[in-house]
């Protein structure tokens, strides 16, 4: 039960629901159906600070509002970066924006990846498709404090070579000796020379110490479930596994119940959950 101080008064609620205006600074295509938007506050004031894994509600005036994870560097608040996949009305409308256009932004909302808790551990980041976007801030954050972690492994699975997000950045990171990056695609044609197969097939080969590993997973829910199975098979304790859940959202901040999943509100108690907390709720249909 929420206590009295947690229940927002009407005025606070309207503040929470009021978007702040941001101007599109840059918008560029990543792949055929994904793009990245860089935003700056329209009033020239400071941008928001955020933690890796948190999301914003992006509002296209007259079209609608969608939850989108922040994909930029937490140590560089400006510009505010989001990477999106064009799937429907709002994401398509966002795709058509040009530099100088305005969007409404509410946030940052939600829980963060356990970047501090994982200090001293090996890290395994498992991303599927657009799921790499919410994990990119973790990579920025870790690379900034690289010595605090053991091995850092990124396992990224996507549909085809043409769907690989952040190609240039991945290439740059791949040349580092302190980062182990493996990419796989579900299908390919020649002259692709990388891996073909599901992302879970990379887990048995990756080098990490299971007992002292923190795993963070973001992608389609089926991919996350199978990844968890492989990780636990390798001996990663369940309470070292974190997942980012996706549910339809309206308010994004715990008022409307739209994102409810059992006793949890994904927008407020999540989207990042430690696996045992969400174990019985994964695989449940939306209400």
């Amino acid at each position: 039960m929420a206590n009295a101080s947690e229940i927002l008064q009407p005025e606070a609620l309207s503040n929470e629901m009021l978007p702040r205006l941001y101007t599109v600074n840059k918008l560029y295509k990543d792949t055929h159906d994904t793009f990245t938007m860089e935003l700056v506050p329209a009033d020239g004031g400071p941008s928001m600070s955020f933690l890796p894994g948190q999301f914003n509600m992006l509002y296209v005036f007259g079209v609608g509002e969608v939850p989108i994870s922040i994909s930029g560097d937490p140590d560089r608040a400006i510009p505010l970066v989001h990477t999106l996949r064009e799937v429907g009305s709002v994401t398509s409308a966002l795709r058509t924006l040009k530099a100088g256009d305005t969007v409404g932004v509410r946030g940052p909302y939600g829980t963060a990846w356990p970047v501090d808790q994982a200090v001293g551990h090996d890290l395994v980041l498992l991303a599927g498709g657009i799921g790499l976007a919410p994990l990119r801030p973790v990579l920025y954050s870790i690379l900034f404090r690289r010595r605090k972690y053991g091995k850092v492994v990124l396992l990224f699975g996507t549909r085809s070579p043409g769907d690989i997000l952040y190609k240039k950045e991945l290439q740059k990171w791949r040349s580092r000796f302190d980062l182990d990056i493996h990419i796989t695609v579900d299908r390919a044609i020649r002259p692709w020379r990388g891996n073909v197969g599901v992302v879970t097939s990379l887990i048995p080969r990756a080098s990490f110490d299971p007992m002292h590993t923190t795993a963070m997973i973001c992608g389609p829910e089926i991919m996350m479930r199978f990844s968890i199975m492989e990780l636990t098979k390798r001996g990663v304790p369940e309470d070292h596994i974190w997942v980012s859940m996706e549910r339809n959202m309206k308010c994004g901040c715990g008022f409307c119940g739209h994102c409810q999943c059992g006793p949890l509100f994904v927008c407020k108690d999540g989207p990042v959950f430690v696996y045992p907390r969400i174990k019985d709720l994964m695989n449940k249909y939306e209400i």
Binding site: V87, R159, D186, A188, G194, V196, V198, R205, I222, F226
Partner: protein
């Protein structure tokens, strides 16, 4: 001749196998190397061998009439390649082409089948391990079929 026992023993597929069974396997084993672009198998050809990959990468391909060869899986260090040698009519179902220089231990299928018939404990060990590979492959294929990164309907 090179003793392949130590190489077989350290291959993940054979982990935990007894020394006496490894000795039996050695009798069917030979060392092989494939250059980039070599075909290790061709769909429809007799599957006389299978391989314990020690190093490198191979692509399992399926020929399609309209899109050319589609890569459906890659196989690398520590993997086992091929199970068509186990079941009649002993023919390869796919093309397998090397993507990187590959070193492997080739196993003579008929030789191993005969040993498995003579020593059912060895046969059970081999079957158990291949079943595990096949089950993993089946669930991976199911995930691939779902096209989980595609747009939701």
């Amino acid at each position: 001749m090179q003793d392949l026992g130590p190489y077989l023993k350290e291959h993940p597929f054979l982990s935990g196998m007894t020394d006496s069974h490894i000795d039996l396997l050695v009798g069917c084993a030979s060392n092989v190397k494939f250059d980039i672009g070599d075909f290790v198998s061709r769909e429809g050809q007799p599957a006389k061998q299978f391989y314990f990959v020690r190093h490198g990468k191979l692509a399992v391909e399926l020929q399609t009439h309209d899109r050319g060869p589609m890569m459906i899986q890659t196989i690398g260090e520590g993997d086992v390649l091929g199970w068509s040698w186990l079941f009649p009519p002993y023919v390869w179902h796919f093309d397998v082409k090397t993507v990187e220089l590959t070193r492997a231990i080739a196993m003579d299928g008929e030789c191993l089948r005969n040993k498995c018939e003579e020593d059912h404990e060895l046969g059970y060990e081999i079957m158990k391990r291949f079943s595990h590979v096949m089950v993993n492959r089946l669930s991976a294929t199911r995930l691939q079929l779902l096209d989980i990164y595609g747009k939701r309907k």
